[in-house]
Symmetry: C4
Subunit: 231 residues, 4 copies
């Protein structure tokens, strides 16, 4: 079985993280899935970005078992596995500790939708899942992190195909998408939206959320049936 296509995709997507200023040292990881094969390629744990190569990407199945690779996969691998297993439409996942998104996660607050930059990508506040219970933390922690994210989406009736990003309270962001490239794109968008929302509240402590008509308009011109953004 050849996995070089997802190893290459995961490698290229991982290398985007430092270029986009989203990681310090090894504080982030990207995976790329092949749904037909039921596996994903993910960054090895703790390996610096400038020492990565496609063949170092570890192949893991959707239950978190290593299928191929001599290196240990990212310590967050089980979170990726759970999301791939239950959210069938996604082909790439990013975890980072990008500065502004992580600050919101540490603040345990959703990121309010303040403008069209946000609405171009989401129609709702970016959700911050609450910190996990002590039982979940002491148990299969990274596995439970995946369920904490999905529980948050279920409780709020959010669709992972529309909202491709989440903050895990006290921890940091996860983003995803149909492809690893899209997941990386979403991480950069999230960081930018997080910085702008922070500044907005500093400039106007009573800044109102974006009005519904603008949320709808901006989201639909990019994502609706009559979208007219892009080629």
């Amino acid at each position: 079985m050849s996995y070089t296509h997802i190893q290459q995709a995961a490698y290229e997507a991982n290398m985007q993280l430092p270029k986009l200023g989203l990681v310090l040292f090894t504080f982030g990881n990207v995976s790329a899935a092949d749904r037909g094969l039921g596996v994903f390629a993910i960054k090895p744990s703790g390996v610096p970005y400038d020492e990565l190569s496609p063949d170092k990407m570890v192949i893991v199945d959707f239950d978190g078992n290593t299928v191929q690779g001599s290196l240990r996969p990212s310590s967050d691998t089980k979170t990726h596995a759970v999301l791939y297993k239950y959210w069938e439409g996604i082909g790439g996942i990013v975890h980072s500790h990008s500065t502004y998104a992580t600050a919101w996660a540490q603040s345990q607050r959703d990121i309010p939708i303040f403008g069209t930059t946000h609405a171009d990508h989401n129609t709702v506040d970016i959700p911050c899942a609450p910190p996990m219970s002590d039982e979940m933390i002491k148990g299969n922690y990274e596995y439970e992190t995946g369920f904490q994210i999905m529980n948050c989406f279920n409780e709020r009736k959010l669709d992972y195909r529309e909202v491709e990003m989440v903050l895990v309270g006290n921890h940091a962001p996860f983003t995803w998408g149909k492809t690893p490239e899209k997941a990386v794109y979403n991480s950069a968008v999230l960081e930018s939206v997080a910085q702008m929302a922070y500044l907005t509240e500093q400039i106007n402590g009573n800044a109102p959320r974006l009005k519904d008509a603008l949320i709808k308009k901006h989201y639909e011109r990019k994502h609706g049936p009559d979208s007219y953004y892009g080629q």
Copy 2:
């Protein structure tokens, strides 16, 4: 009819946006007009900056109709068209989501004139046009955005030849100028002034506006009949 001169000008001006740190991904666009021909060249929608070339710039008339080009023009094209149609002195327009200017737009506040960096370019607070009515948003949105900007200038009795920048509430900035280069310059100035004004209020919550004598002095030494800045 040859449009290569405005395609080249639009291309070069667009490429300045990432160099100046004013755009993430494709979140911005510049156009360059030829008033004799009654058209402008504008960035194609959603195309990454590193894939741009002069021939990809789309030619559009002042009613927003595509005249030449196989790619779809920027989704903000109609806003550009309206401004060119009614403001006859401008030859270039920039739209960006630059961080600090967008944060002020999201805050729905004018940027107060706090210092000479601001007064070197404007004599007034940088206006923030209010968010549009639901009717305007649901209608011909980008076209109405142009009118929202012009209405704001009319109500405040501002002259677009003196104030070459505006924030659209909850959205982001637009700047313009006699040339696309000047419009890009104005976007960078706006971002810098927006950052300084934010910091000024953080440092002194009661910081006073710049006194009238300094506003007049700095503006006139750059733009008055007896200006003595530059060559």
Copy 3:
């Protein structure tokens, strides 16, 4: 008479400003004096940094008269001239609109001495000269700016040889030194100290000034008779 030595020195010092992130476009200038000849070389007004060359530096005497050069000197030239004329120990001057220092100037506040980074260079809060009177502004503005700076130092009994930087209220910083290199160094130090002081107040609204013993210790280990910093 040959001025190439100060033209070269002024050129090199000016080129440090963009490298150190202290200027946007042309918003800054450096001059280099030859006290024996009674002149200084200064950046021409409004010329972009990447178009500068040593021979474009304009030679001006300490009364502000151009002695040599076909380009118009910086619009701030008279401020430089006044400082050179009355402060005989300085050989270089910088004016910039660097972000954090300018934000403090716009806030019309001295920068409090909060730590040893500050005390390594100054024993006092960095002074913010008040905005000028309307009469001074409407008169010989740039010339009066020089006197406003010196008046501030006289009133506070500061010595320009010990405190080599000032904020001009609502405007921006000036720094100086025995050489243009030292003046540029001081501009970068000021910007760093200004950013740290801003952050310090955000983190602790009641942060105390540095205690006198530490101010004295740090200043003297770099500048006192028994200094032991450097080679």
Copy 4:
């Protein structure tokens, strides 16, 4: 006696500081110890980073006496010496004035543990040692700085092998580790954690400290007996 191995190590570690954005000009220094020889190599005082070379690193013993080298060692050398003398497990030390960590030091506040980025490296708030007494400052200042750091750790019952970083009140951070590379790594982690903690408090003035279960989990997955981070 050959010291080239620690000179090379100290040189390489020092050169990481400007690359990681942790120093302006010469405001920082790294040392590398050889415990067998009872000496360390340290940056010479006030020499710009781009003029450094391995042979310029000064060799000093654990009492602060220069053993080899024609240049004067860093003015902070005695602080390094004291820490090496009493903390036998460390092989590298960094002192910097990095922006966010220094702002916390100036604020005289510990950095609260707000998230997993922090818990991946420490289980406690990052301690801020109080400013020294006037007697200590007027005495053997840099030597006493080392004792001030160790007193802080003793009073709080912290282990320098677990907490490899400290803020010295009103001054700036020190970090250390088994190797100079690890000490530099810790300085960059500290700066990132300091920035995130600052932003967290701005976004939520009542942000709670990280819960104990998460502190334990994240620290132990990197540093505990059953750690599973890295290779």
